[in-house]
Symmetry: C2
């Protein structure tokens, strides 16, 4: 642990490292992980967590009792770090670029079953050509668009079967993958359930079209944190993906996918000033520590840059981080009369809008365990490094 | 240089590293640096650049022909890295927290003239107490609020003279500091000029109040990128601060402080897909590479997540990055009929809204020089590391 400890402290606590810094509650993380693992078990599908949120081998070790499991990654840097950590079943869920194929091939040669994603004839051509030249197969999934969110082919797109055939003839066709990205804007349980049904139906329809053309489809992969928690029937699907759920965040709480008390990631900040004439408390945690993500700004309850807890993790009702510059945060009370008395030096924890974005602002996490409650500063039980870069 | 080069390339170019990555144009950076240095010279003040934007000793080496110069920092990690680089005249321009004083004292003991900032009696008390205990002086500046942007005392606040006296009696009173943060929303040259006048007037008034009470004020520090470029007379001011100007960005171009062609920071991305039915080009550069900052969203011309250049640096008229998920960017044309033909694999450069926030998403910069024009991929002349963390 690379933290400066106060001389008297036998065990480091959240009062010890200089602020701002990121904190992960291992108990809440485990509870979130177990909740979705149980769901996947009931639904009869493999869970393939997306490690882009935590980007940490230590957090990933909670997924499967310390043993490697299937994972999804958002960068080849993650794929390489997880391969180094013994993970051998990895899906790289961003459309493949030809320039990145040497690193993909290097991972395949190390024995990692690394799947790539594509949605165009051009990509199918350069992937199969590179596979041929390298004398191996590059397992590829065809991205299916289920809700107009981002990339992918519609399940009835003419190109789907052509691409499937090119991949199959090179031994590279692994399956199809869909992501209901628009479910982040599905504000009711019913709409989340419908988004999950649509995600499944679209992925399965694409797989059936390929099969009807004589093309074998192994993997039918779906998932997003909202739909993974809303799906009631995944018939035809082989695997479920979700990433954010390990930590959750205020966007997910606003959608009702989790409760605020499930949020496992927070940022510790210190009060450095007061502007009573404006109703502001100033902290040393700005957008560099929280990110510029304001995902809740489009939700019914805008949570600013985040909700405020005391250092022990207890919410301070009505206190919101409403402003951010690079290294300054501004806290205000929803009811101005209620601005609490928090002297200079007081440490607080901020619950973020978007865990993926906030975590990305930090190199590591200090780890606490909320099953060991304290009125004071929780003990730091470990420091977990993040993977960064591409 | 830690980049994978294509085997045929004698010199690495922007076509070589895997995307996304950050690029700094050393020529534009130098031109921006020289422009403000000339202004400061004409105005008769010391320039103390804020290194929080680039966070790079290599970029800082451009400020003064390779020799250390006075700098401003936003974190103690920057102060420590710059001290290691031989910089001995540093202002830490975020309100001081008592917990951070051991690192401040360690820097002072290394011979670094490190100034701290404060705006409360509590901070003055713990700073002077720590100085007394350590047997040294901690030079402190009193933060003055000139526009209600963030922290600081009004120039006529009763506490100002009390705090000044406490600091002076401990030998710690260095001066006053003001930052016209609201100038980022001053949309005309006249309003920027008025913001600069107000910033100067407020800082000088605070200094004069302290002097009238018999308290010696050495430093009268003002600055922000817009006011530093708008100030016409800095009588009474001793030093000027600005940070963003080394790179500039679309927010500053939108304010008219610079031209789009002055922007020295961009992010290289690759086209990975197309959704012609939506008018979208999909790239592998999302908010992880650009940040979530959307500063231009409140300006007359919203520039989305950024404007698009070809790899050689030539603008692609009307093409804007309008959407971002973690590792995906969406480009659209302002006039949908004009969506250019950019095949999968095409590399592009994105000019960001906010250079400080975009740069913070990267560990290093690849460096090009636009005075050596090319129709192809510019040569990479160096790789410059960034300072990160707190």
């Amino acid at each position: 642990m690379n933290t400066a400890l106060s001389p008297a402290a036998a065990v480091p606590t959240l009062a010890d490292p200089d602020t701002p810094f990121a904190v992960v509650d291992v108990h809440k993380t485990l509870r979130n992980i177990e909740r979705l693992a149980r769901r996947a078990g009931r639904l009869g599908v493999t869970l393939r967590p997306h490690v882009k949120t935590a980007k940490s081998l230590d957090v990933a070790a909670l997924l499967n009792g310390g043993a490697p499991c299937p994972v999804t990654v958002s960068t080849l840097a993650e794929a390489e770090a997880f391969a180094d950590g013994g993970y051998t079943d990895i899906t790289y869920a961003v459309g493949i670029d030809a320039h990145k194929l040497p690193r993909v091939i290097a991972l395949l040669r190390r024995g990692v079953a690394l799947r790539v994603l594509l949605d165009s004839r051009e990509q199918a051509a350069f992937v199969t050509e590179a596979a041929h030249e390298a004398g191996l197969t590059i397992p590829a999934q065809i991205e299916i668009d289920c809700d107009g969110h981002r990339g992918g082919l519609k399940a009835d797109a003419p190109a789907l079967v052509d691409i499937g055939r090119v991949l199959h003839e090179a031994g590279c066709l692994d399956g199809v993958l869909a992501h209901a990205g628009e479910s982040y804007f599905a504000y009711t349980p019913e709409n989340q359930r419908l988004a999950a049904e649509n995600e499944r139906d679209t992925a399965v329809a694409a797989a059936e079209r390929l099969r009807a053309a004589g093309l074998p489809v192994g993997t039918v992969s779906v998932g997003s944190t909202p739909t993974a928690h809303a799906a009631e029937d995944l018939t035809g699907v082989t695997e479920l993906r979700a990433g954010n759920y390990v930590f959750f965040d205020l966007v997910m709480a606003g959608l009702g996918v989790c409760r605020v008390e499930d949020l496992a990631l927070s940022v510790v900040v210190t009060v450095i000033g007061h502007r009573p004439e404006y109703g502001w408390i100033i902290t040393d945690g700005g957008w560099m520590a929280l990110s510029r993500d304001r995902g809740t700004s489009v939700q019914a309850q805008d949570q600013g840059y985040g909700l405020v807890l005391d250092l022990a993790g207890k919410p301070i009702p009505g206190l919101v981080m409403t402003g951010a510059s690079q290294e300054h945060g501004t806290l205000t009370a929803r009811d101005a009369a209620d601005l609490p008395n928090l002297p200079v030096g007081t440490r607080l924890r901020i619950l973020p809008n978007h865990a993926c974005a906030t975590a990305a602002q930090h190199r590591s996490y200090h780890v606490v365990d909320s099953t060991r409650p304290t009125d004071h500063a929780p003990a730091i039980r470990a420091n977990w490094e993040r993977i960064s870069g591409w």
